[in-house]
Subunit: 198 residues, 2 copies
Amino acid sequence: MASPEIETLTQALSRLPGLGPRSARRAVLHLLKKRETALDPLLAALTAVSQRLATCSTCGNVDTADPCAICADPRRDTRQLCVVEEVADLWALERSRLFPGRFHVLGGKLSALDGVRPEDLAIDALVSRVASGGIDEVVLAMNATLEGQTTAHYIAERIEAYPVRVTQLAHGLPVGGELDYLDEGTLAQALRARRPVA
Amino acid sequence: MASPEIETLTQALSRLPGLGPRSARRAVLHLLKKRETALDPLLAALTAVSQRLATCSTCGNVDTADPCAICADPRRDTRQLCVVEEVADLWALERSRLFPGRFHVLGGKLSALDGVRPEDLAIDALVSRVASGGIDEVVLAMNATLEGQTTAHYIAERIEAYPVRVTQLAHGLPVGGELDYLDEGTLAQALRARRPVA
């Protein structure tokens, strides 16, 4: 139907979450028709991100610099550390603008089903950050899923020997819900009402 | 929240049809996390298309070559010409694989409301193609909207002096429907049952 280049672009777009083959085709047509206002800016933005993409070696955030903008920001409260499963969760919390501290991205959650063990996540790195001191509170902001809560309890046990307050998000989260899908009001409520791990 | 480069990319993606701010953010996260399998292929595909993007000077199709793959294909029946409003409609018909001829993209439809006049569309170019001979049939494949049908009637009048059979898609199309949204079965039926303009 179309040239191989256009087919390849359609396929690359259709693999993005939220786009299927049909919507990818519409997106490609939009890009082809609006070269100056759609294709060129997207290409420039992708190129810029691709050239400077970096994973923060401190917190695991994905950014265009290492350390990331959050770790490098002197206004962030270094005594508060929020542990999240994924970068998407970090971004979701940042959108609520309620957490003044820094983050630690685990890169997933413990899962017997998927064979994810503690050594597959950035848990040792988290313990090191806590052990090196300067942190008063660790907020465990895992998803309210079984695996998320298992991960939270495992981490709480790993760092209970250190002189830090360990809290978790209040269970205003709907059961089974995932952070990145929540509205910011619910997130804000859950963050404000966070409580010590029992 | 994120670096300016990532924000720019999110905005560029959110302007694509079918993606809003939230789904664009998810798509960006996916791209950042799957650099080798998502970001790099998309960047390469966009670059390839951007470098070779061309509008076919014969039919108005958007492709990576001029003439486009359809106009350059010697197996296409040059005696049949299908006139469509937009490139999206051409692609929709190509997906049904039932039309063996070539195409002519008008670039829109006549619209008093939007101030689109005949000289704003590729109608003169169509008349020239018909006048230059070698065409037996012109299939008017406009959308089954008021404006699409007005456009079809206008074109039928403009080319009635030439020795070509002028047909239009059968009105198996649902009223108010647009080609690009139809399933291929309906499109195929409409194409098979095309009939002369009364």
